[in-house]
């Protein structure tokens, strides 16, 4: 076992020495969320600044991403629960094939706003690294929190952040 622990210490050292593991995230908390105007699912315009009086939960998703699908169910319930208190969920689709997105939207009903962001510079501007990625944006357009991925055990923390943002509104 001594050999094993020696080897593992070595491996950890190599990993830690060679690579920086904590990159700085862009569009960090405190920064203004970049403005966008995107087509909505039925052709209407979705403009971020139209919701500056609301708390915005901005989600970037694609039909092929499993956690994105799970987050749809959760976002529906959040929109229902907190919509009246001023929460607006905007889910920006990034599917390469428009048909895939259309099919997904047909199969997964949603009570929040969907915008089509494929082939725009928006995901690059928001420096999306992981699908899905969400940003909680406070009244006035400042990013409160950024979250990568979506897992069952993320739900309660995300919900309490939403509640807190609505309280400070």
């Amino acid at each position: 076992m001594l050999a094993v622990s020696k080897i593992s210490t070595m491996a950890i050292a190599i990993i830690l020495a060679g690579f920086s593991l904590h990159p700085a995230m862009a569009t960090e908390s405190g920064e203004m969320a970049p403005e966008f105007i995107l087509p909505g699912q039925s052709g209407q315009e979705v403009r971020l600044s139209d919701f500056k009086n609301k708390v915005i939960y901005l989600d970037f998703w694609a039909s092929w991403c499993g956690p994105c699908k799970q987050s749809f169910t959760w976002m529906n319930s959040m929109q229902t629960k907190y919509g009246a208190q001023g929460l607006q969920i905007i889910a920006v689709n990034l599917d390469a094939k428009a048909e895939d997105a259309r099919q997904f939207i047909l199969e997964n009903s949603s009570n929040f706003m969907i915008a089509m962001g494929t082939k725009t510079s928006i995901p690059a501007t928001y420096k999306i690294k992981v699908m899905p990625t969400s940003l909680l944006i406070g009244q006035g357009g400042k990013v409160i929190e950024r979250h990568a991925g979506f897992r069952d055990d993320d739900k309660s923390a995300l919900e309490s952040s939403i509640k807190q943002a609505l309280m400070h509104r």
Partner: protein
């Protein structure tokens, strides 16, 4: 089979940024996300096949380390 060595060096070059391939963005990974596109396979199935080949042929290696031996005849 110089091709293999060539492919390997090619991959290294790509990785170190010597070529001009455009990096694939996270939202472009829909096809890459399919299970068949990852290099992960059913572990038991992969082991069975690898085991059979390594006990019937004299060639092994390439896919892992420290698998443990056997007296394979």
């Amino acid at each position: 089979m110089k091709l293999v060595a060539f492919a390997f060096s090619g991959a290294v070059l790509v990785c170190t940024g010597c070529t001009g391939l455009k990096p694939v963005q996270p939202w472009e990974k829909g096809n890459l996300a399919k299970p068949a596109m990852t290099f992960e396979t059913d572990p038991l199935e992969a082991r069975f096949m690898e085991h059979i080949y390594s006990s019937k042929e004299s060639v092994s290696g390439g896919s892992g380390v420290g698998g443990g031996g056997c007296g394979c005849n």
